[in-house]
């Protein structure tokens, strides 16, 4: 098996896939802790559907670089979604559900009406489940991904304490002069960036798994914010690595393999928590 892996690592695209996969997993898990704790878990899901719709539109417009269109649209949607959380007529979860199904439907509709591709269902499937795209990344895309990921991690470390304050108690943070709106905006933009990046890895239907699972698993075991964040990052990276390696060796789709590994890790953490709880 090691030999098979060794052989695969001769190919640059496999190494790229591994690097990008790990970076994306790290970013999404860091932000995931904040999202899960603020009851925003579904934002990832909603945004990924918006990104799918945007990708369909970009395909019709025959844009050479999809990212240039998909990224701004997703960022805009993220800002709008986070804003709806604050006293509007349509409540947050309903707004997210409506936006995400609309984007999904319109995206598929447009792809059907205007597609020039001969293998439409294959295209749709790979956008939704990310079956092959991570293995066809160019060097440029890997660089873009690396730079954005490092920026996300740097921002996270720099604003770690503020993020904690805003996540734990928004009202207190605002009362003590923290510009909560600015941080919410920052969070929205960063999430949108991560989701667009993660579409290459796991496809738009499975992104929320990368955001939610590591945080939930870490919360089973650890009881401080710092430990949960660290554990979530480490767990996510390990799961992504394992998932990609398994998918290379056994030829399974990358995205769903990573999610399956994350699921297994979550179950393990639940078991560990139970044993821990039994002792205490």
């Amino acid at each position: 098996m090691i030999e098979t892996l060794g052989m695969y690592f001769q190919f640059p695209f496999v190494r790229y896939a591994l690097i990008v996969g790990v970076l994306i997993a790290l970013c999404s898990s860091l932000l995931g802790v904040t999202l899960v704790l603020r009851r925003f878990s579904f934002i990832g899901d909603g945004l990924s559907h918006v990104a799918f719709g945007a990708l369909a539109v970009a395909g019709i417009l025959n844009l050479t670089d999809d990212m240039l269109f998909v990224l701004p649209v997703t960022v805009l949607a993220a800002v709008l979604l986070l804003r709806t959380g604050q006293n509007t007529k349509i409540k947050g979860d309903a707004a997210i559900a409506m936006i995400s199904v609309s984007a999904l439907a319109i995206g598929y509709l447009l792809m059907n009406l205007f597609s020039t591709s001969t293998n439409l269902s294959g295209d749709v499937c790979s956008t939704l489940f990310g079956s092959t795209s991570i293995l066809t990344l160019t060097q440029g895309e890997v660089w873009l991904c690396a730079v954005l990921s490092i920026a996300v991690v740097a921002l996270f470390i720099l604003f770690y304490n503020k993020l904690f304050a805003v996540t734990f108690d928004e009202d207190f943070a605002r009362a003590s002069g923290t510009r909560v709106e600015a941080y919410n905006l920052l969070i929205a933009v960063v999430i949108a960036v991560i989701i667009v990046l993660a579409m290459n890895l796991v496809g738009s239907l499975l992104i929320s798994a990368l955001i939610i699972f590591p945080a939930m698993s870490a919360m089973r075991i650890f009881r401080s914010f710092r430990a949960v964040t660290l554990c979530s990052g480490v767990l996510s990276v390990v799961c992504a690595l394992l998932g990609i390696l398994i998918s290379i060796v056994s030829g399974t789709p990358v995205g769903s393999t990573i999610v399956a590994v994350n699921m297994a890790a979550f179950l393990l953490c639940c078991g560990a928590a139970r044993i821990q709880g039994g002792k205490a």
Partner: protein
């Protein structure tokens, strides 16, 4: 000059006025208790003082060396906090946020102050414990320590004893009174518990009838049955 002066305040959301014509002032070392029925605008008043919400009319002025951001706030707990993975230390330390400005990390001095405030609340031994595993009274102490990290002068407490059992409630009141008497921290406390008035130096009653004055005057008025709503037969 008073630390906090509110004149002619009207409170409410959008066009619905909850409470109008509110005027009162708070001096250094005062212990003001704000009472009133549910829905009379107590929490709205607090949010307005904190600057989370704009008053419909009137003004709020800070004085006596107090700036708008220097208020320690003890909010009512939210549902999300009940299962939040954070240690006592992390929660209390986040009270120093206000002083940090753009600086991303806490200084040694801020950590020292957090340690001192936890000790004032008798919580220093539990700093490493998980916040969600504490009892209701202990959680309130942690949030009080956090509020003290944000201020040295003025504390705003929103229903600090709701959901606590009688023994813990008495302890909490004693703690707040000690902060006020011994450390000269100004206290503004919202309560729907009429018993809270006995600890206060001043009372603001909002609702169908407005009252602002010393606790003594409030008690006399109360004993004489001078409130309109009492004659109406509805008891608090």
């Amino acid at each position: 000059m008073a630390q906090l002066t509110c004149s002619g305040l009207s409170l409410g959301y959008e066009r619905r006025v909850i409470c109008a014509g509110l005027s009162f002032s708070v001096n250094e070392g005062d212990y003001l208790c704000i009472v009133g029925e549910n829905g009379s605008g107590k929490t709205t008043l607090m949010k307005t003082i904190l600057g989370l919400q704009k008053p419909l009319a009137g003004s709020i002025a800070f004085g006596d060396g107090l700036k708008a951001g220097e208020i320690g706030y003890l909010p009512q707990q939210t549902a999300a906090q009940k299962d939040f993975p954070a240690t006592v230390w992390e929660v209390a330390l986040s009270g120093c946020q206000a002083r940090m400005g753009r600086r991303p990390f806490y200084s040694r001095q801020e950590k020292e102050e957090t340690r001192r405030n936890l000790a004032r609340m008798g919580m220093e031994g539990l700093a490493g414990r998980c916040y969600r595993d504490l009892s209701g009274g202990q959680q309130q102490r942690v949030l009080l320590a956090r509020a003290l990290c944000a201020t040295r002068k003025l504390l705003l407490l929103d229903e600090p004893v709701s959901g606590l059992d009688p023994a813990v409630t008495a302890e909490m009141y004693a703690l707040i009174t000690r902060l006020n008497r011994e450390e000269k921290v100004t206290i503004i406390m919202i309560s729907h518990d009429p018993g809270a008035v006995q600890y206060a130096s001043h009372v603001l009653h909002i609702g169908r009838e407005l009252f602002f004055g010393t606790a003594q005057a409030y008690r006399e008025k109360w004993e004489n049955g001078d409130f309109d709503f009492m004659r109406g037969g509805s008891a608090l």
